[in-house]
Structures are given as structure tokens and as C-alpha cells.
Amino acid sequence: MLNCNEVKDYVSDYFDNEINEDIKSLIEEHISTCKDCKAYFDEIKDVINRCRQITDEELPVNFKVNLHERLMKEAEKEKVQGRSLRNKYIAIFSSIAAGLILVFLFKGFYGNFNSKSKYQLSDNSSITETASTNRDSKKNVASASIKNNMESTNINNSKSETIPDMAKNGTNADNAKDKNYVASAYNERSVSKDSENKNIEESNNKTIGGTEKNTTQSQSKDYELAMAANESLDAIEENASLSITKSYTDPSKQKDRVLDAKLTIYTNDTENMSKKVQNLMQQYGGVFDSEDKVGNQGIQYENGKTILNILVPSGDSFENFWSDLKNTVGERNYGDEGRTEVDKNEDGMQDARALLNIQLESSQSEEEKESIRAQLNKLDYLESYTCVTITIQKR
């Protein structure tokens, strides 16, 4: 048997059908005899029914329209922010990447030194330290840094740590020869970090007879820095621009991430072609660009042309979409193809992401972490699609 308090506890479950049959019958048994509890149950039942009878209000007339407007504004905001964020990151990190490229290139140079081996080290007394584009003066500075570690101007002087091998080998030489030898020896050792040249290094070690690797490490760094200071401006610029973007018209290069792509299709039935493109778009998970940065909507019609602004998921989806599109259209019916690719290895986004992750780890406050995570999410979002502009026009 249940007492009144217990029965009252069950009232909600009773009316929500959340109790088993046994308890239900016990309750009903109780309220059939207990007036108070019966009244209580009836009152609660009344409340619940009145609440349940409350009908839904209708949406106000302009609700959906207003909401749509606000959403579009929000979407535009995010795109602008995203684009400027992306540009900012690309700018910052491509310059870092350019710096990294320089270092790697110098290592590449070391490999070349051996094969070229035509330069002459100049006389010690005429060391110039200023940067210049002249190869010889580069070597001057380079040799100057080497000579930082040498006490005397005469290479053959065995006071220097770097000379012993020369002396050991007993190579008689006029300065020129010795300097060449030292230069190439240094080249090889400084290239020791570079795995490509390891073989050369080893073979040289044998001929020279024991390199002192510890000392050469720091010396090769000096060498690197000297080279860095002397690298020609032309080379720097060339490499920097290489690291940012490469434009190909050869679509067979698949590995890089495509930022933007465009194509013009020539046909007499523009409407039909537009539908074909849209089908393909949907097939590959693409969507209309709801509004690009100049305010163009997904489809524009101007001067008899149909222009489709589409977003297609990057990577395989985009590549498949692109080749399928061109196959469908037919080789003689399209032109003016272009795409902007970003080399994955030098892609500023990778570095941007890496930097953000580092910041995230070292961040102290939860608020800051949230904002960093939001920025990371934005990068994901940006990386995930390619903007495609397709113009369909009559021949």
C-alpha cells in the first residue's frame, strides 16, 4: 500500500505514462479511496491538460524573410573576414617560407660547388665583407668566414684547426690549389647536413683523412650565413615568388591545392549547358557561391553570357569535377582555362596552422584558446573548397 506522500510523488510519472502497471494500479487503488489525493491528482491533471492544449502561434509574416536577410549578411561577413584572414596568412607565411627556401637553396649550392669548382679564393688581405652579386666577392666573404677560424693569412699555416688535414696529407701546394682544396673540403663538410651529398662527404673524408666534424659544424654555419648574406637579390626574388604561387595551365599536375579555377564554354544552347554544369556541380558536392566578394550571386546573366560561380570541395572532388566537366563539354568547345595553385609544401596555410597550434599549446587562458580554435576552424573552412567561375557563351 502506498501512503499519500508517495502517491503524490508519482503524479507526474503517472500522467506522463512513465510508470509500470503494478504501481499504476496501486495508485489508482489509493486515489479511489483517498479524497485529498484524488483532488490533487485532478488538479494536476487539469494543469497538464491546459498546458497541452495551448496551440502554437504562427510565425509572423516577415519572419523568414528577415531571417534570410540577416543570415546572408552574416555569411558575407564571414567570407570577407575569411578572405582577408587567408590573405594575411599567406602574406606572412610565404615570407617565412621564402626565408626557409633561402636556407635550403644555400645547401643546394654546396652540392653545386663541388661540381663547378672553378672559383678561386682570393688573397686574404683583400677580404670584402659587403654583400655583392659578384661571385668572386661572395667567395671572398665566404672565405673570410672560414678564415675567422684561421689565425694566419697563409692557409698552409698549421696553426688553424682546419688545416691539420691539409698538413697531414702533405699536399704541397701553392695557395691557390690549397685554397681550392680547403674550399671544397669545407663544402663537403658543410653539406654533411644535406643527405644528398653524404656520399661525397664520406669519400672526401677518406682522401682528406679524418674530418673534425664538431668544428666543421660551426664553421659550416658561418659559411651558410655568409652565403646567405651574399645571395644575389635576383635569386632571392625568384625563389620567393616561386614559393608563393605557381600558375600552371597543365592540369595534370595534381598534387597542389587549387585556390581558384576558371573556364569559358562556347555553345549555342547556353541554357542546356548551364544545366549540365549544375548537375555536375551537385554530383561532386559543389554548391553555388552565395555571394562572392564583389557581390555576384551564384548565377549571373550579362551580355548574353551565363556566368556560374561555384564552390567545389578541394582535392579529388575538384580534380574529378574539372576533368569530367571538360570531357562533357568536349575539347573544342572550351577555352581560357586557368587555375591558381598553391604548392602544398610552401602553402602558407600549413604554416599558419602549425603556428596556431603552437600558440594553442602555449596559451594560458581559456578565452584565448577558444579564439585560436576558432581561427583554426576558419582555416579548415577556407582550405576545403575551390572557387570556380564558369562562363557559358555563344560562339
Partner: protein, 197 residues
């Protein structure tokens, strides 16, 4: 079905407004009505409901799928409603009757905002007015469970997800809320009877 939902979510996460609107299409009326029950009039309800959808759109990139999409959506709605109520309650509370305090809840009587047109007021059922007023005077937590369970028909499990509390808590809050409503209505009856004797 769920594949379609997932792909809509994915599109919306990329910023696709049309996909987002499809996603929320079935929820718009419910969200508006929850807001309406809290705010008491259509303008404020519109404002709150739209604000909720904007906020969901903004943070959908952070949606990990740990709870269902609708649970997440309604959680945001309820939170915004409660925030708004807190803001407004600080400004204009009018007490008609004395405040009766109990262990857990407060009864307040507030004037209906008076934004209904005379025509509407005539049309409004006395009984409905009464229950609206009664619900309005509940505390925010109690109001929330009544609105979600008895008016909108969510399950205990769903409400627990929306309000981020155990089902047991939902049940006891609901019990309490219903009991308070009963007392309010009873009190109104007594007052009514007294006046008309």
C-alpha cells in the same frame, strides 16, 4: 535521412546559407513558439528566435555532432531566452500581488505586457489568459520545463539534453512546476470566488 541531414550540416558549416535554412526549416515554428512563451509577445519572440538562429549559424562550424543537431539548437534557444529574461526582469517587474516565497520558487504576478490589440484581447479565451499568466509567473527554470514538456512535447531525454541536466532533475523540476501552477490557478479561483460572492 540522416545522410541528408549530415550533408546539409556539412554544407552549412562551409557557410552555405540555403543549406542552413533547409536545416532549420522544420524547427522555425517551434523555436519561435518557445521564445514566445518566454517573452510573452511576438516582437520580442521574433527577435529572440532570429538571434538564436544567427548564433547557431555562426557557431555551426563548432558543432561536433556529440548531441543531435536539434538538441543543440534548442539548447541555444533556451539559453538566449533565459538571458533575455534576466536582462528584462532587471528593468521592469510590476508586482500586483504580494510575493509569496516558497523553498524553491517564487511566485510573481506580472501585468501582461499589454501589447495585444483590443480586438485580440476580446478574442483571447479567459482560460487561456489565465494559464498564460500563470506560466509567466514561474521562475525561468520552471517555465523552461513546462514549456518544453507540456507545451512543446519534448521527451524527458530530450529536455535533459537541452538543459544539460540529468533526467531525474528534469522530472523533479517538472513536478514542482506543475504543483506551483496548480497552486496559482487554485489561488486565482479562490480570489475569483471571493470577489463574486
Amino acid at each position: 535521412m540522416s545522410n541528408n541531414l549530415n550533408s546539409l550540416i556539412e554544407q552549412a558549416q562551409k557557410g552555405d546559407v540555403l543549406a542552413f535554412e533547409k536545416l532549420i526549416e522544420d524547427h522555425q515554428k517551434k523555436v519561435y513558439n518557445i521564445a514566445f512563451r518566454f517573452m510573452g509577445n511576438s516582437e520580442d519572440a521574433s527577435e529572440v528566435a532570429q538571434e538564436a538562429f544567427i548564433r547557431v549559424y555562426k557557431s555551426i562550424k563548432n558543432f561536433k555532432g556529440k548531441s543531435s543537431f536539434s538538441t543543440w539548437l534548442y539548447r541555444i534557444v533556451v539559453n538566449i531566452c533565459m538571458d533575455e529574461m534576466r536582462k528584462r526582469n532587471k528593468q521592469n517587474i510590476v508586482y500586483i500581488d504580494e510575493i509569496t516565497q516558497t523553498e524553491k520558487g517564487e511566485y510573481r504576478h506580472e501585468i501582461e505586457s499589454g501589447e495585444e490589440s483590443p480586438q485580440q484581447q476580446v478574442e483571447i479565451n479567459e482560460t487561456r489568459n489565465e494559464i498564460y499568466a500563470a506560466i509567466n509567473s514561474l521562475s525561468d527554470e520552471h517555465k523552461a520545463v513546462i514549456v518544453l514538456k507540456d507545451i512543446q512535447g519534448f521527451s524527458y531525454e530530450e529536455i535533459a539534453g537541452i538543459m544539460k541536466c540529468p533526467e531525474g532533475t528534469v522530472k523533479s523540476r517538472l513536478n514542482r512546476a506543475r504543483s506551483i501552477l496548480k497552486d496559482i490557478l487554485k489561488k486565482n479561483m479562490e480570489l475569483f470566488n471571493k470577489e463574486n460572492v
